[in-house]
Amino acid sequence: MSDAGENGRRGVMRWYRSRGLALCALALAGLFCLGPVLWQAVTSIKTDEDLVRLPPIVPERVTAAHYERVLFQSPLVQSLMNSALVAASATAVAIVVGGLCAFALARLPIAGKPVILGLVLATSMFPPIAVISPLYLLMRSLGLRDTLIAVGLTHAVYALPLAIWILTSFFRQLPGELYYAARVDGCTPLRALLSVFLPLARPGLAVAGLLVFIFSWNEFMFALTLTASDATRTAPVAVALFPGLYEIPWGDIAAASLVVTLPVAGLAALFQRHIVAGLTAGSVKG
């Protein structure tokens, strides 16, 4: 009896010891990743006087002034809407074009598929800085300079290889016989894609779409180069232009970065559940 109790207590202790280590590691990793965000959060609610003083790390007085200024007295809201528009359209274009392309690469009889996939991947290997000046000239001569179309299109093109790769591997996971069945049942290849493959590849579409959206939302250099006015600037560019000639408004920048981060963070958290659920439950078995 007592022996069993002794064993039990030792077991509990062992559990704590092993879990304790894991928890410590997790806490460290979490702090490492979230530390900067926390710092931003603290900065964003500090008063201007506290901003330039240390200590205190945790301020005694908190203020919403930075948020107020960022949301009501700056072009941030406008640029958030621009960002949403650009990211949404870039995602739509990348998913539609990428989906068609991936389906062809995964299922249709095309010669040289590995070469095509390799070339697709190669295009994303150019550093953005290398293509930025020709891209600028191109957009200018197309009359698209300082338009949301230019930014959205560039993002879509730049994210396309990613979408193609993700979707191709998703389509390849689906049994080929489903495609054959759809074809024999009377589908054209496009109808087979729409009626059979897209519904089944929903987790893949979610993953690809989310990644493209986040990429476009966060992208800075193209957006900076191709836009020139508050009407077209995306959120990262707008935040970057906060510093004035004589001062850097740390509080405002911190508040703005949190506001900009929030939508994608929420989106990722929301979708992650779907993605994980989709990956496990949506798998197809014959």
Partner: protein, 375 residues
């Protein structure tokens, strides 16, 4: 309904030739099976018939109409897969209705008609109570039925079945086999059924084509394949337990296989061959009797030859027990399989006598494996 003619069809993938040159005709309304070991090209042939792949050369004709260049949806065929290939995101009802919905614009079927067709097919296959289930909720047999239903609903002119029963357990397979045959007799549609299981091919088909490495070895009714195999491959492939194969030589009017020898007359066409011809002999297990030595079980007239051996393995099938016996042929031990008369009980390791009863036994060219003599 359709007569299917395949003319000099070939298929190559890069450097590998899967089908060198296939020519065969499936008659209208026939239950035709294509049987062969894995990798013999039978599934490729089926895909070519369905239009899912294009032949390297040759033609396919349905009722005289050249369909070689047509898309799958223009051919009006249905295909049932080994893996069933049910659409996992659709209920049974939607799976069944899918072929009709896809072709709605062409056929002009409205929703009521489609639902009526779904009910008809569900009734035919006993799926009425499962219509609102998802494929993942069904058992293997039920999935198979849904796959069949999806093929049936369009009333195609040709059914293609690619090993549709291989994923079922043995008992269910026998039930579905009977159902399939019954279904064929009711519908009268031409069916081409591909399998690697010779029992399935033999029991189902009006005619069977045996395929090996892309080449049609023989086409004929099951009985003909069994009684007159056109070559060694067919002889070995068809029949269970497998045929006994021995090498021998014709001399002095007898067929000598080491210790064992048979009169020439016991073989089909043996009389017409010259002395000294080396041949391969095929003896069906049912023409081999394994007895404990005393010849009380063998009618003397029926016996053509005898050899002694040692029992190595016993195979019980219920009605018949088969004995695998090691016999000596030219200093080399070879295995022969033969029937053990009911009532005899033998043990592995026991010395027995192996009697060859009246055939006909089959003779094949020792080099080419082609059937000798006969017709």
């Amino acid at each position: 309904m359709a007569e299917v003619r395949i003319e000099h069809l070939s298929k190559r993938f890069g450097a590998t030739t899967v089908l060198p040159d296939v020519t065969l005709t499936v008659r209208d309304g026939e239950f035709f099976t294509i049987v062969g070991p894995s990798g013999c090209g039978k599934s490729t042939l089926l895909q070519l018939l369905a239009g899912l792949d294009h032949p390297t050369s040759g033609r396919i004709l349905f009722d005289g109409e050249d369909v070689t260049g047509l898309e799958p949806r223009e051919r009006d065929v249905a295909l049932v897969f080994q893996s069933y290939a049910l659409y996992p995101h659709m209920t049974v009802r939607d799976n069944l209705a899918f072929p009709l919905r896809v072709t709605k614009r062409k056929t002009g079927l409205d929703r009521q008609r489609i639902e009526a067709e779904v009910q008809r097919v569900a009734g035919l296959l006993g799926l009425e109570s499962l219509l609102d289930r998802w494929p993942r909720e069904l058992s293997g047999g039920q999935r198979q039925r849904v796959a069949l239903g999806r093929a049936l609903i369009r009333q195609p002119r040709l059914f293609l079945l690619d090993e549709p029963l291989s994923n079922l357990d043995a008992q269910l397979r026998a039930v579905m086999r009977a159902e399939l045959r019954h279904l064929h007799d009711r519908l009268g549609t031409t069916m081409i059924y591909v399998t690697h299981d010779q029992t399935e091919a033999m029991t189902l088909a009006d005619r069977v084509a045996v395929l090996d490495r892309g080449v049609v070895q023989q086409i004929g009714p099951p009985q003909a394949l069994y009684d007159q195999p056109s070559n060694l491959f067919v002889a070995k492939f068809v029949g269970h337990p497998a045929i006994n194969i021995l090498d021998g030589e014709l001399c002095d009017g007898r067929l000598r296989m080491g210790e064992l020898n048979l009169p020439r007359s016991a073989t089909e066409g043996g009389d017409r061959l010259r002395d000294g011809t080396r041949v391969t002999i095929g003896i069906r297990p049912e023409h081999v009797l394994v007895t404990s030595g005393a010849s009380h079980d063998v009618v003397p007239d029926e016996e053509e030859g005898r050899i002694s051996g040692v029992v190595r393995l016993l195979e019980y099938t219920g009605s018949q027990t088969w004995g695998v016996v090691e016999v000596d042929q030219a200093g080399k031990g070879i295995m022969m399989i033969g029937g053990i008369p009911t009532g005899d009980s033998l043990r592995p390791g026991q010395s027995v006598s192996v009697s060859i009863t009246r055939g006909p036994h089959h003779l094949f060219d020792i080099d080419t494996g082609m059937r000798l003599g006969g017709d």
